[in-house]
Each structure stands twice: as structure tokens, then as C-alpha cells.
């Protein structure tokens, strides 16, 4: 499945939010990738997420493939929309 999202928090996908997102993504079995401007990276890696330098309001897509894809999609969308507060 594919989920279209936008970065909601003001400071963008900095170290802390990238860490939170990667940690959450790693909890799922599914293969989870993030696509930004044609670049595809693993959403389970804090380094990969940080290197994308996603800014406030910037759109991105999560491609999720695996047995728990639906739950993963819902959980990660909520996390992004909640500005990475857990």
C-alpha cells in the first residue's frame, strides 16, 4: 500500500523526529520505504530519513509491503500527523 503524507512539525524531519519514525517503522514486519522526489530509502533507518532533509510541509510517500501493512500505514500516518509525539 501507499500512503501520501506531509511533514507537519515546524522544524522538519530532524534527528529527533527521524529517530522516532525509524524506531516505530522498525516495529513492523512489513518492508517500509519512503519516497521523496524520486529517491527511495528505508523508513526504518534514521540515517536514511535524516539524509532526505524533509522540511515543514514537504510531501512524501510511504510504500508499505507486508503482512502488517495496514496497521503500519495507520500507525505511521498518525505519528506523522501528530508531529512525532508519542
Amino acid at each position: 500500500m501507499e500512503v501520501q503524507l506531509k511533514i507537519k512539525n515546524k522544524e522538519g524531519l530532524h534527528a529527533r523526529p527521524a529517530g522516532v519514525l525509524a524506531k516505530k517503522a522498525a516495529e513492523f514486519q512489513s518492508n517500509i520505504q519512503i519516497v521523496v522526489n524520486g529517491q527511495i530509502k528505508s523508513a526504518k533507518s534514521i540515517m536514511a530519513l535524516m539524509s532526505l532533509s524533509l522540511k515543514h510541509d514537504q510531501p512524501f510517500t510511504l510504500i508499505i509491503d507486508g503482512p502488517d501493512a495496514q496497521v503500519a500505514g495507520d500507525t505511521l500516518s498518525e505519528l506523522v500527523n501528530n508531529e512525532f509525539k508519542v
Partner: protein, 588 residues
Amino acid sequence: MLELVRQTQHPYRPLTQGSGVSKGIAVGKAWVFDPSVHQHAEVKSQGVEIELTRFRQAQRKVLAKIEALVQKTKAEVGEEESQIFEAHFMILQDEELIGPILFAIEQEHLSSESAIEKSFRLQIQIFETSDSDYMRERALDLKDLKTQLLDILNPSEKPGLSKLLAPIILVAEDLTPSQTMTMDRKNVLAIITEKGGQTSHTAIIARTLGIPAVTGVPRATTMFSKHDQIALDGEEGSLFLLNDLEMKKYFTDRAVLQYTDKQKVQLLRGKPTLTKDAHMISLYANIGSEKDLDAVEKGDAEGIGLFRTEFLFMERKTAPTLEDQLRVYKTVLNKLAPKEVVIRTLDVGGDKPIPYIKIEKEDNPFLGVRALRYCLKDIELFKTQIKAMLFANEKANLSIMVPMVSRATEMKQVKEVVDTCVAELEKDPRYKKKPFKLGAMVEIPALIFELAEIKKYVSFVSVGTNDLLQYSVAADRMNPELQNIYNPFNLGFIRMMNLLAQQAIAARLELGICGELGGIQEFIPLWIGMGYQKLSMIPSEVLGRRSLVSKFSFERCRKLLAEVLKAKHETDVKLKLTDFIQKGEKTT
């Protein structure tokens, strides 16, 4: 820009200047820190198994160090600064970084050192070429981690920052977060770096620890030799080479003087806040959770002027129960007793959605159903919060404050809800009724004209300056395009604050400010002149502001007010207020 030699208040020519990021004057020997480690390129693999073990061990050790740093930083600096180390913790286990290291050891038969160098080099390059300043700064974090790994593989004989033999002024190209946190603080008199700015970790940590610091000094590490005596002013960012005794004496005197100034401020601890001519006001602290209580004690606040309760409601799926809230309110009320604690009822709106708070999507959340407006629609939630406060009020030091009040009739409704809560609680034998106060926040301009009516229901009002300014000039304070309109020196706003004070005093309401402007030093004399009695601010600033207030008289504040009210332009207001503070400092 940085080459420009700016003004200095000292009678000597600075050798150079950078940005002053942590104030204070320091005098001492320059000590240039050289973080470079041995060259590892030539190290040969001792065999795949051995290298894998060496790498895993080094990784484990660094992870343990980072974990300790997270705790240390949380305790000594703060939650937010500790998060960078939490990110380090994850980075050092990240597949993107560790995968290539393991591959290089296993498949390319490289030593751990070479494998680390290789994988980090690639990642550092990605960060360094990013178009975001923030990401480029993170390259430094990667170098930090790399150095830590290599240091464990080949312990260096070089003197480190964690053990210094004598007090020094630390000069470095740049400092990593872990270096700043683990340096031998009692021997670091001041910090000078070539890189970094106001928001670098070095700057933030130096400010928190009270160590004078100047960053952005080009060529600092080559400018000084090891035993140069230097002085620096961490406020203006200037550096001086002390080449004669007279100059050294001048700066040493200044350094000692500031120390006694700090001590003088400490003498005001536990004392009331008085102007020179003994006009008394109260300085309170604003807090966002019970975690801020230590800072309140350190700052010596005379009470809590605003306890924001939103944190209890955020980041959860259901509303907090009476017990959840009671525990927190009780901690704060009892810790502060007999000092007053003003707890604000829930202040949320459609701009920050909370799952169980049902606010319809609105075009203008700041003009929509928020704060009190929502609470009056969700009476059960409101009553639970008020009951928790009343229950927690064992020492009779509670004040309940309601945000976003636009008309007196709303306070009538609130008063009825509060009365119902008291009546219902009185049926519970565990509840002992104690006196408490009820008040309203003034954030909506129209309320200023209903203060006489509101007096029937409340005993105090407190001004939320940020929102009052935003609503009175109809400019979003976050919008950079409107900074000239959202301007606290605005003539209309200043006159409105004065009218508000007159109305509140005429209605015999206790009057305070709990917005950001309550603590800004330029405005304090003005608020005192207008008759505001209670100013609430960031906890750590209270003691310093008490010292400030003691430097001028109420009479001079009144004169300042008269002059400001006659000003023809906002820049004129700004000038008068800044001037007053500077002169006030000099007359002491």
C-alpha cells in the same frame, strides 16, 4: 561580516570578535584542543572474526557511553538537549551505517578502523553536501561518533577534555555535543570555537552551565599559542590578548566584579521584590508541568502565575481522569504552599487536535471554539478538571484561572460550574473545602471594557500579552510578514495595556501579567508604572528581575509611562524603554 571589528565597551582594542553566545567575562590561559586521532589507514585486518569482535565491542562500549550521556544531559541540561544523544544511539545501530562496516570487514577484509573510516566517510559526505544547514551541522555528530569508536579501538595518549590539569580557556575548531557534555567543567573558564552559532549545542550548553562562550571566531585555533593569556567578553563576543599587566588587571577586576554581582543577586533570595522607593510587586513563574518546579525554586519565584495544564491532556487517547490530574495538581500546590499557584484550565483549540477533544474543523481555529469556549461545551471534562484542582487544594493556595474569556456572562457561567463542583464535592467526606480564588485571563480586547461586570465573579485578572496583542492588531504572531504589525512597542497596544490597568484598578481586581511580555526587562518598568502588581515569567529569570526592579524607583516608572504615552512612534517607545534600562543600570 565576522572580520568586522565591532564596538566594545572595554577600553582596549579586541584582537578579534566572534558571536557572543554565553555572557560573562573570563581571564585565563588559552588551551588549544586538537581532537585529531592517530592515522588508521595503515591498520591491517587481524582476520575477519577478530575484527568483527573488535568492532562489536567498540560499538557496545560507545552505546553504553551514549546512554550514560542521555541521562546526564537530561538531568543537567534538559530533555530537549538530551534528544541529540538519543539520536546518536540510534545512528550507531543503523543499518545504513553499520551494514557497510560489517560488509567491509567480512568481504573486503578491512580492519575495523578502515571499515569505520570508509562507511562514515560516505555518510558524512551525504550530510555535508545537504542544502540544509541543520543537516550539515549533523555531519559533526557523525564525526563525533566515529572519533568515539576509533578512540576505543586505539586509546589515545593525548590529553582529552574530560581531564584537564589546570583552569583554561578552551579554544577549539568546534566541539561535539559529547565533548561539551563530558569536558572537565571546573577547569573550563570559557569556550572559544571557530564554528557554531547562537543555536549550536556548544552555545546552548554553555549558557545552561553559565560558562562564557564566543563562537564563530575564524582561525581561533591558530591565533593563540599555548600559554597566551587572554580575556573574553561572552556578551559582545570580543577576545583580547593580555600583553601587559594593566590590561590583565582591568579584565581580572571585571571578572571578579561580575562574580560579586552574581552573589549580590543571590542576596535577594527569599526577599520581597521592591523598587528603590519600596513599591512592592510580586514576581511569579510560568510553568508547563511539575518538572519545572526545580527551576522555580532556583529562580526564587514568589508563586506560580501560570500553570499550563495542556501537557496532561496531550499525547493520549482518552481524557485524563480526576485522579490523574489530582496527583499533579497536588504535587505543585503542596510543594509551593503557602505561595499562590494559579492553575489555568484547559487551553486547546482546533489548531492542535487532541483525539478525544471534539472540535469541528474550522477555518480560523484561533477565532474558533477554543479554551473556555470548548470547556463550556464539554462540561463534564471541565468539571473533572475543576474538581481535581479543588480536591488538590489542601493548603488553601489555589487560584483557578480561565483562558479566552470574551464576555462577563461567560465568567458567570464558569462561577456556576465551579459552585456546582464545590456542592458536589462536599458530599464526599474526603473533601475539605479550603478557600481558593477565581480569575480570568484578559486576552480578548473587548473584555477590557467589561472588567467592572466581571468583578462580580472573579477576584483577579491576568493578561495574556501574546494573544491580547495578536487579537488587538489582528496579526498572527507566527507570520514573519507581519512582524512590524505584531510589535509589542505598538502605540495602540501600549495604550491599551494602560487602559486595562486603569479599568482593573478601578474595579478593584488583582492585576497581573502572565504572558511573555511580563518578563521582558525593557517592559518591566512600564508595567510597574501602569500599576501591574504581579508579573509572571520564565522561572529562571525571577531573581535577576528582582535585582533589576531594585535599581529604579516607582516614581521614575511613572515618569517613564507618561513619556511613553506621549510618544509619536513605536520606535520612539522602543528607544525610551531600552534607554531607561541602560541608564537604570548605570545609576547604581
